[in-house]
Symmetry: C2
Subunit: 522 residues, 2 copies
């Protein structure tokens, strides 16, 4: 056999496409993964973790290579759910697989790791490659680590914010004033958004609020609002709802707002690495994407929150204000007490119950006060209340029933029933109580543990599952008093949640004996 060698001068990258027969694996890895036969992959110079481009019927996507010695035969390619869904594949389909060259953004990530500041186009390239799944989880982990270790200056933070914003759709409302709020999270039952939005909308502001679903909590605002109506809207649908009612509470993920951020959050989660520049960009990108002019940020501090150290919380507050200014978003920050859950209910329907009660003038006082404080600040900064009068104006809007009326309008515009009757809420039918075995004063109620129990009961997927707190920090409880109630939709889930509750002990009583000693020690 004779083949002619051309003697070309420049480096040419190999890009031989090979066609394979699809074998569907019904497994999700949160990343687009294909499985090749091990020997064949070696021959094609593809290794576990390498990237390839897949093509099928004019659709293309990047994917990451995994290998199997036997389950995938030569000529076959196993496709995980993410690939099957994106390319709309079925078993036996023929797809082409082409090696991808190393993306330039890997070099930029290395440069950040070396301590260089990145330019706006470089940051944009990284965010684009992230969106195209051209960067592996480990490479993104290095990006997060580089930012954690080297920091982002204000210019880089603004660039990252704008790149994340441009990764999705942007809302163009053409009205004024547009207000927004954000809480950096971690507090069970903290459903202020569902109270602040109707107050501001009733006062005449526009509040196109997008919220997240629960990641580690028992319910995100989107999960809770979904008890009443749909939260899954495209950006044009959000526009219509807001122009009609002045407010909306939608799921950010459905609206395709700043989707790069969801991917970055997914990477940051397992490390608990939360580099400040990335946190700022993450939040502000979503504010910018909906065109906010005024925003209020709630930073809960204290034991068990993301910000246990008040001085770090203050620095973060200053950064929010600085980055907000650079993005033309007037930003006010509240440091709030986050050491205790807010409200009574934890879980979508149970939190919804607290919200509806507050909007009707009763319900948990802490949730009412905090909501009016945040709403009042937005009313003042957007010129809808006199300086110093925001809180009282917000209280008045709730007490007059206008906020509840506005909530009915918003829920109806989002496809729900406007009746908003508490007795209609789908609270779990199975209920158990956790009783105190000894008497004492409640020292601490762990947000994380309460959320954990609610999740064990089935929240957020089971809307009616969750926990109701029967005590607060400082309460004196007697032996036999209920400390929490658990709700679930099946005996099995209730049993499991109780087992978890007994195991993790969510409520701490004041310590009297601070240590015990064994006789043998003396």
């Amino acid at each position: 056999m004779r083949v002619w060698f051309k003697g070309v001068f420049d480096m040419v990258m190999e890009h031989i496409e090979v066609t394979y027969t699809v074998k569907v694996f019904d497994i999700g890895a949160g990343l687009p993964i294909i499985v090749l036969n091990e020997f064949e992959a070696r021959q094609r110079d593809l290794f576990i973790g390498d990237r390839v481009e897949l093509a099928y019927k004019g659709r293309t996507m990047s994917a990451i290579v995994d290998t199997s010695p036997t389950h995938v035969k030569e000529g076959e390619v196993g496709a995980f759910i993410e690939v099957v869904d994106a390319l709309k594949l079925g078993p036996g389909d023929r797809i082409t697989v082409k090696p991808l060259t190393k993306p330039a953004s890997i070099d930029y990530i290395k440069r950040k790791l070396d301590g260089s500041a990145l330019t706006p186009p470089e940051i944009d390239e990284i965010v684009k490659d992230l969106m195209l799944s051209k960067l592996s989880e480990a490479e993104l982990a290095v990006f997060v680590a580089a930012i954690y270790s080297r920091g982002l200056n204000a210019e880089e933070t603004v660039s990252l914010t704008e790149s994340i914003m441009r990764s999705g759709d942007q809302l163009q409302l053409g009205v004024h004033p547009i207000v927004d709020k954000h809480c950096i999270g971690g507090i069970a039952g903290n459903r202020t958004t569902m109270i602040v939005v109707p107050i501001l909308a009733a006062a005449g502001a526009y509040m196109p609020k997008t919220s997240s679903r629960a990641i580690t909590s028992a319910a995100g605002t989107a999960d809770t609002m979904e008890v009443l109506c749909s939260v899954n809207f495209r950006i044009d649908e959000i526009r219509d709802i807001v122009l009609k009612t002045h407010g909306c509470i939608a799921w950010g993920g459905g609206a395709h707002l700043a989707p790069a951020d969801d991917k970055l959050i997914r990477i940051r989660y397992p490390f608990r690495l939360d580099p400040r520049g990335m946190l700022l960009a993450s939040i502000m990108a979503k504010k910018k994407a909906v065109g906010s002019e005024f925003t209020v940020i709630d930073i809960p501090i204290g034991r068990g929150t993301k910000m246990e150290d008040p001085s770090r919380a203050k620095e973060l507050a200053k950064d929010f204000i600085d980055i907000g200014n650079r993005l033309n978003i007037k930003t006010q920050v509240f440091l709030t007490d986050g050491s205790d859950p807010i409200g009574y209910g934890v879980g979508p329907a149970l939190e919804c119950k607290d919200v509806l009660e507050v909007l009707q003038g009763s319900g948990p006082q802490d949730l009412f006060n905090k909501s009016c404080l945040l709403a009042g600040s937005l009313l003042e900064v957007s010129g809808l209340a006199q300086k110093g009068e925001g809180y009282n104006t917000a209280v008045g809007i709730v007490k007059s029933g206008k906020a509840f009326e506005k909530m009915r309008e918003i829920v109806e515009a989002q496809g729900g029933s406007p009746h908003l009757r508490i007795e209609d809420l789908p609270i779990g039918k199975y209920r158990a109580e956790l009783y105190a075995e000894a008497e004492g004063r409640v020292e601490y109620i762990s947000n994380k543990k309460i959320a954990r129990i609610a999740r064990a009961a089935g929240a957020p997927k089971v809307k009616g599952a969750g926990v109701v707190l029967k005590c607060e920090q400082g309460d004196k409880i007697k032996k036999g008093d209920a400390v929490i109630e658990i709700y679930a939709d099946s005996e099995g889930s209730l049993d499991y949640a109780l087992k978890v509750a007994q195991e993790i002990q969510p409520v701490e009583l004041q310590k009297i004996v601070l240590g015990t000693y064994d006789r043998s020690m003396f």
Copy 2:
């Protein structure tokens, strides 16, 4: 339902074990992965990427969680190959799954990322958790990134070396002198080890050499030696072979020497992040594990090598000597010309052919010279040759036939046939040549591209597959001259390798026209 709440004072971590039925997935991810039903995982507070401890019949291991909405039902657990093999599972077996708390080593990794130096116990803990698969790929990536960005001081490098060494077995020979060599790699056909070992063994030194298999190359030394005999030995078997013959060439992976290093290499590979401290620790741990007293390090420099920059290579050389001293290993470093492949053959059997020819006094001159240079240095430093006489002594040992004789002994001790006849080598039956289309002087032969073609032909798995170089840097070639030959064991593999060769163009001719311009540019 009533459950008593105990009011315990200290934080208790949840550790509820749940038992699942095994479903076997014949997929390898290079990591121990289990797949849980998505809803059930949420309820158990387990997320993609979380770690769990698996237990089955008294065996336990850590694994990483993946989820599937439908393919794994509630109560089932899918197990990837790595888990199936480690726990010896079959379909339908019942295993328990328990969430693992965050390992302390994650905090140490964070501290390194913050710029702190780590203590020996901290480094040891990270290496232990790595070995127990308690750290995810992304977390290990952050470890590599932290070392890349913050560096390791000499004490940390020595600690890392010792921890990696302790991750596996150690060879206790009780003889003297024990010598070793290492090449930092990347050069096709660079099979000096198979010549240096018999020279040193013939001269009376002990050389328990462990080598790697190919990762991105066409053949590792272990793959090439395996053409002649087994390379898969336990540490006690290596001991017996070395005490009998003075030498051995075994696969390091089979000997369970410094296994933590293999895991670190796997992490570093996709990033091409090669932090110096980690590279040093990686190599020296293996030297220390076999009890080396003297070692020679070969650092190929020049275009296309791992060390394109000679000043970086010199710094690395100094570090090798310094770390060697601290570990009581007398270390000498050679910077060698790595811009060109060594020898003619690339691929296990073809490289073996070069080696056997050199040992019989013929074969490629570059391989012969380089091997005698490295061997000579070890002879001098270990006192087996006069200063300045090492190279000549090595040449004499080869020319006298003693090195070849020693190689026969070693091969026989490793279970192979001592005849070592070149005509017995399993060279691929299918052969093709790549011809020059134009005349010119050979400017550059890319090691990476030659290796790529040999792999496309089936190397290293197919022992007889590979490439034979028909020209060298500086040669004048005419139109129609063969530049490389390709060998394979099937028509299909040969075709594919030829296609790759034509695509990537492994041989560069001297440029005459340095650019072309379009008329419209003037």
